[in-house]
């Protein structure tokens, strides 16, 4: 009825439906949000992508991101973002790189790690990719390689990432966070001197209590693996104090800390204490283990 009675510029109805869906979602009315989203979906398919590519990209992209982030529907999101990506890539000088990153994110959410990695690798082959995008791509790609049990490739990419973060003026990731990731991965591969080097770089950030505790754990694990038993045990006791501190409980994920603590105790051969720490994490009656 609205469409029949008032002439509005193309895209206005879609804009409105998207806003209505978003407002219902914010208000917690999921059914109404989905209903408006479906109407928007029907509208977006009416756009002639040959004639109005920019309008198409804008709405396919918005609805793709909305469906994965707000409606939890990565399958729908993938289809929408793929359309946005194909149209965007056809257009000269259009900044399609961020659409490609989002599309890889959706594939990752769908557990299609190979697909996500292929998307990201293709981006790395491109010239003139913005530093901000390159940093995101390297970070995501390293994580995927690590999860695909290809740690040497992950480390190679992480080292590239550290260099990029250090030299770029537009870094979206703080250097200590990246250094922590690299250090942790070197720890997993048993290269303790490199692990220690990067973890000490990560120590430079005193402002983030979560990162600070994670770096502390990783450095204690380095000591444990290096056979510095007394030092490692001292670190363990400090970590126990952190996990029992009521202020810390609100700022760091205690479950992760306790898990890492258990790992260190295992390395040190303290099996009974390790068992206790692990059991606390899996015990549903123990509160404050996980961040809300």
């Amino acid at each position: 009825m609205y469409l029949q009675t008032i002439e509005v510029p193309e895209g206005t109805v879609l804009d409105s439906l998207e806003q209505i869906s978003a407002i219902h979602d914010i208000l917690g009315d999921k059914d109404a949000a989905v209903a408006a989203f479906k109407l928007a979906l029907a509208e977006v398919r009416k756009i002639n992508l040959q004639e109005k590519p920019i309008l198409g990209i804008k709405h396919y992209y918005f609805l793709g991101i909305f469906s994965v982030n707000r409606l939890g529907d990565p399958v729908q999101a993938k289809e929408l973002l793929e359309t946005a990506y194909i149209v965007a890539k056809r257009m000269p000088d259009f900044p399609w790189h961020s659409v490609a990153v989002d599309l890889s994110d959706v594939k990752y959410v769908m557990k299609d790690r190979d697909g996500a990695a292929a998307q990201l690798n293709a981006l790395l082959q491109e010239t003139n990719v913005d530093d901000e995008i390159t940093i995101k791509v390297l970070y995501k790609l390293a994580r995927i390689h690590s999860e695909m049990a290809n740690k040497s490739k992950a480390l190679e990419i992480y080292e590239r990432l550290v260099e990029k973060v250090r030299t770029s003026e537009k870094s979206v990731l703080p250097e200590p966070l990246v250094a922590h990731r690299v250090g942790k991965l070197y720890l997993l591969t048993g290269n303790l001197s490199k692990a220690s080097h990067f973890l000490k770089l990560a120590q430079s950030d005193e402002t983030d209590p979560e990162l600070k505790s994670q770096v502390g754990v990783a450095l204690t694990a380095v000591k444990a693996q290096a056979g510095e038993r007394q030092e490692a045990l001292k670190g363990v006791e400090e970590l126990v104090l952190i996990t029992e501190n009521s202020i810390t409980k609100d700022t760091v994920p205690i479950g992760e800390l306790k898990t890492d603590l258990g790992e260190i105790l295992l390395i040190l051969g303290e099996y009974n204490r390790a068992t206790e720490e692990f059991q606390k994490v899996t015990d549903p009656t123990v509160i404050n283990l996980h961040k809300p």
Binding site: S146, L185, L188, T189, G190, G227, G255, T259, I267
Partner: protein
């Protein structure tokens, strides 16, 4: 015995706390003989890995399942899962991670040895020798404790295989590192193994070393059972110490039964039967080893008999 240390040094980079805890608890509890609870944790970890589909998690679960079946005394299932795990291995993770080649080869070599697949076992053992020595120049040399535990386990596997020289070479490198940096368990195992190996090479006066290793309270019946078995073998070659040998074999039997360590139990039964010369004890040991498909023990009993 599968070393918990080999599974210890953290898991995949971004693993959830719950997944890692399930995995570790399953290894720790099965080592304590709590098989049912261990299996529950294993299933929980497996469910997480299957939902996540990350190779690193799937591999960690497979090696944990192989470890579980080995500790439960089922060599066939253990070997099947170890072979599946091979597809998930990360060559960059020598020595330190649950997905490491070291963890896999140690488990595979041990299962193969007990199953009597000597060729398979030796392929893994010789590969391990290149990588796990605490004095090795390879990447893993820095992870001293992981290398140390792997070395001790490697030496015990060479001992099981009967290659005393190889076992001695490895434990001689590991021994000072264990004394300086090792856990109580590592120190105890290094003492007992070195004493036994040296005595097998003809060196006398190793009893003090053995006694020192045995005097440590470990609160780990599986390890203590194995140490008592080595002690029994230590004394069994000396005709004046047959009673001591029998006493250690009896302790090994009791501890391995309490810990649910069927392979140590089988070997202790076998050595005890050989020590007494009793045909009925030999028959019982043979039956037990055959039930376990532990050809290593079957061969030992048959060789002596022929």
């Amino acid at each position: 015995m599968p070393s918990l240390q080999a599974l210890a040094a953290c898991g995949p980079e971004q693993t959830s706390s719950a997944f890692l805890c399930y995995l570790r608890l399953s290894s720790l509890l099965v080592a304590q003989g709590q098989k049912e609870k261990a299996y529950e944790y294993l299933l929980a970890a497996q469910k997480t890995a299957e939902e996540d589909k990350a190779k690193s998690l799937l591999g960690a679960v497979e090696i944990a399942i192989a470890n579980y079946w080995f500790q439960a005394g089922n060599l066939s299932k253990a070997l099947d899962h170890a072979k599946t795990c091979l597809g998930f291995l990360d060559p960059a993770c020598l020595g330190s991670s649950p997905l490491s080649l070291t963890s896999y080869h140690l488990l595979f070599a041990e299962c193969s040895l007990w199953a009597g697949n000597v060729t398979d076992a030796l392929a893994s053992l010789s590969l391990l020798r290149e990588h796990v020595s605490p004095s090795s120049t390879s990447l893993v040399k820095e992870s001293v404790l992981n290398c140390l535990d792997s070395s001790i386990r490697l030496a015990s596997l060479y001992l099981l295989h009967g290659d005393i020289n190889a076992a001695t070479e490895i434990i001689e490198v590991a021994f000072p590192v264990a004394k300086e940096k090792g856990s109580k368990r590592a120190v105890a195992e290094a003492h007992v193994l070195l004493a036994l190996l040296k005595s097998k090479q003809g060196h006398s006066d190793q009893e003090a070393l053995l006694t020192e290793g045995l005097s440590t309270e470990l609160a780990d019946k599986r390890v203590e059972g194995r140490l008592q078995l080595w002690a029994g073998i230590f004394y069994s070659t000396d005709s004046s110490n047959q009673e001591k040998a029998q006493s250690h074999f009896d302790k090994a039997l009791q501890l391995s039964r309490e810990a649910g360590d069927k392979f140590t139990e089988a070997l202790a039964l076998g050595h005890s039967a050989l020590l007494t010369g009793s045909e009925s004890a030999r028959t019982e040991a043979l039956r037990f080893a055959e039930e376990l498909a532990a050809k290593l023990v079957v061969t030992l009993l048959n060789e002596v008999n022929t």
